[in-house]
């Protein structure tokens, strides 16, 4: 599965457009990480726990999008975009969407 965030796959020709595919995940932080984050809020600096959490969640959202594309018979997803939103306090939604296509 080829995934890009431009309209095409370089060197390949898009033969069929299959429409939009998407994947999302909502993750909450856990208490241990929150306590560490509370400390970091005093000293400043990177919150490694959150960075990893969000990276994992984004990979999960991308994997779901790719899975959906696989199901409808695509072999590439182009024009992928990410979006993040906080639904409630302490939880974030990560969303990935793109266009499923068949390339030669």
């Amino acid at each position: 599965m080829l995934v890009t965030n431009i309209e095409t796959i370089p060197g390949k020709r898009v033969t069929t457009h299959l429409g939009m595919v998407q994947g999302n995940t909502v993750r909450a932080k856990h208490v241990g990480r929150d306590i560490m984050a509370g400390l970091k809020n005093v000293f400043g600096g990177e919150l490694v726990g959150y960075t990893e959490l969000l990276q994992e969640s984004r990979e999960e959202a991308t994997a779901r999008m790719v899975h959906q594309a696989n199901e409808i018979g695509a072999n590439a997803v182009v024009n992928v975009r990410y979006s993040t939103s906080s639904v409630t306090a302490g939880a974030a939604e990560l969303f990935a969407y793109g266009t499923a296509v068949i390339v030669e």
Binding site: N5, P10, G11, K40, N41, V42, F43, G44, G45, E46
Partner: protein
């Protein structure tokens, strides 16, 4: 009696010194790594270079969550009374963006890419503290890494 006040003062002092130290160290490391990865070209445009015939394309990204220190948060709170530039948050966001781009570049280099096109940056605040103040900010940078196929 004055315990609250002492704690507040201690947090301010800790935040001021450690936050300043951390920021200085971070900027130093950012500048060093930016120099190191300068040969990797990044474009915010979505069009491919015309001389590129064949290349492997792959999505790469890098993210970072950075928190502001206690002193700066208080300083920003004071600033919001009179209005104007909130320099403390400016430097926080700048650090976060540059760091995220660097991590994306690292991921691209690990895949053997020579350029990254269509770089997008996304900023979001993950936690909101008391009074809806932003405690920390997340920046995600992503783009399409291109590695030319040698024929």
């Amino acid at each position: 009696m004055y315990l609250d006040l002492y704690i507040f003062a201690a947090l301010l002092v800790l935040g001021f010194f450690f936050g300043r130290l951390a920021e200085k160290k971070h900027f130093k490391s950012i500048i060093a790594r930016e120099k190191k990865y300068r040969q990797l070209l990044t474009f915010s445009g979505r069009l491919l270079p015309p001389d590129l015939d064949r290349a492997d394309a792959e999505l790469v990204g890098g993210n970072v969550v950075i928190s502001i220190d206690y002193f700066k948060r208080i300083a920003a709170g004071l600033r919001s009374i009179v209005g104007g530039r909130v320099t403390t948050y400016e430097s926080l966001l700048e650090r976060a963006r540059r760091e995220a781009i660097l991590r994306m570049k690292e991921a691209a280099i690990a895949k053997g890419a020579t350029m990254v096109v269509n770089v997008k940056l996304e900023t979001s605040s993950i936690t909101k503290g008391k009074g809806q103040q932003i405690g920390c900010v997340e920046v995600y940078a992503y783009g399409t890494a291109l590695s030319p196929i040698l024929t």
